[in-house]
Symmetry: C2
């Protein structure tokens, strides 16, 4: 409830040919002439933590490439309960359903300061019509999303709370063996448990030394122990 207005800022118009993370993104396979087909500006936008990138039900006019940061996709049930169905990291594409002219199915919210490229739907449509090089990338994006969805279900919604949490932490782990955990509420919403239970389970992990707090909501991980918790028993 801070200044919820000034939470997104225009950063400039992208020059995709020179994109620093181009080999990661949707346009990875495009050749130089392909870029001439882009006739609408692709904007770079920065979002603060907590800012909404797009909302479920909003007409999908643009899709997004995450340049940096972390984004949650939230789905709401009729009764108001919410569930985080996916996390997007740098290189991921959000709002793919826009290409099909559909409304957004999720609400996308930044969990960290996040930079995105906003790609108008028409750009993708035109490229899709005129160059085959985008197809494979699009398929791979769909495939990656689907795979993540399936894994999310089997890994984070199956088994008891400690197992699920262990798997989540391993997923979030950075290469140096540490994590920045999310708010307890978000953790609960990912694992399908209550906020309180998420808090308790994290606390247990801390007490047993499986994770060690090194900063505000930041932990060093005991990978072996976590792996064995994730696998089966408590």
């Amino acid at each position: 409830m801070k200044r919820t207005q000034i939470d997104a800022a225009w950063q400039g118009t992208a020059h995709c040919e020179d994109c620093g993370i181009r080999d990661l993104v949707l346009f990875a396979d495009l050749t130089e002439p392909d870029f001439n087909l882009i006739h609408l500006p692709i904007d770079e936008i920065a979002f603060d933590t907590g800012a909404t990138i797009y909302s479920a039900g909003g007409d999908g006019a643009t899709l997004y490439t995450i340049r940096s940061g972390l984004v949650k996709l939230v789905q709401y049930l009729p009764d108001g309960t919410q569930r985080i169905v996916r996390l997007l990291k740098h290189g991921s594409t959000a709002g793919l359903e826009a290409i099909l002219g559909q409304a957004y199915e999720h609400t996308a919210i930044a969990l960290q300061p996040t930079q995105v490229c906003r790609i108008p739907r028409q750009v993708v449509e035109r490229l899709s019509r005129e160059t085959p090089r985008l197809h494979t990338q699009l398929m791979q994006r769909w495939h990656a999303a689907l795979r993540q969805a399936d894994d999310w279900l089997t890994e984070l919604s199956t088994g008891k709370a400690p197992q699920r949490l262990a798997r989540l932490i391993l997923q979030l782990m950075e290469c140096d063996g540490s994590v920045t955990l999310l708010s307890r509420e978000d953790v609960g919403s990912m694992l399908g448990i209550t906020t309180e239970h998420a808090s308790r389970t994290v606390a247990e992990f801390k007490r047993s030394g499986v994770i060690v707090e090194t900063g505000p909501n930041r932990y060093r991980i005991n990978v072996d122990q976590l792996t064995s918790i994730a696998a089966a028993e408590g």
Copy 2:
């Protein structure tokens, strides 16, 4: 454990132009000349209940269109527990990941006598290269799968067992207001609960008259009551 060998039977080679459910399937938008690009046979195959259509890890040489019947996609965790991640009905496409040259990610098993068309990966690749009319359909297939995966998570893995079961029954409901339920084990594996608990919850529904048994594992549904259970309380 009956004759597990003779559970699939070749039914003939399909003539897609004359397909009876063509407006439902992947090739819906193709025009007459497009069909000349199909240079490999598309076989029709029938599977008995319980037969495996393809297995996780198997190299994805073909994708499948479900013509009739019901198929479960099962995903296994390292520790052996399994989870049903999706159900496929007639018109659905299975094994889309084959187009990307990937191994199958799930095991597909027929839950009822099921007829499928087996489409060699090369056919889709060629059509995909030469006609744009397949693209939209492919996107829509990916999209439908992803949407189903997300809904599965929010509806069938969120809330208490009776809510989940109610939502499942409503999903399975046929137009005449009846359902053929699956084995208790499969129900449990879809809802993320044990077989016993699935059995108990179904039994409660029967006792309270929310569903009425009309045949072997077949029920007439009280839609209003089920809807209110699905929405919130018990």
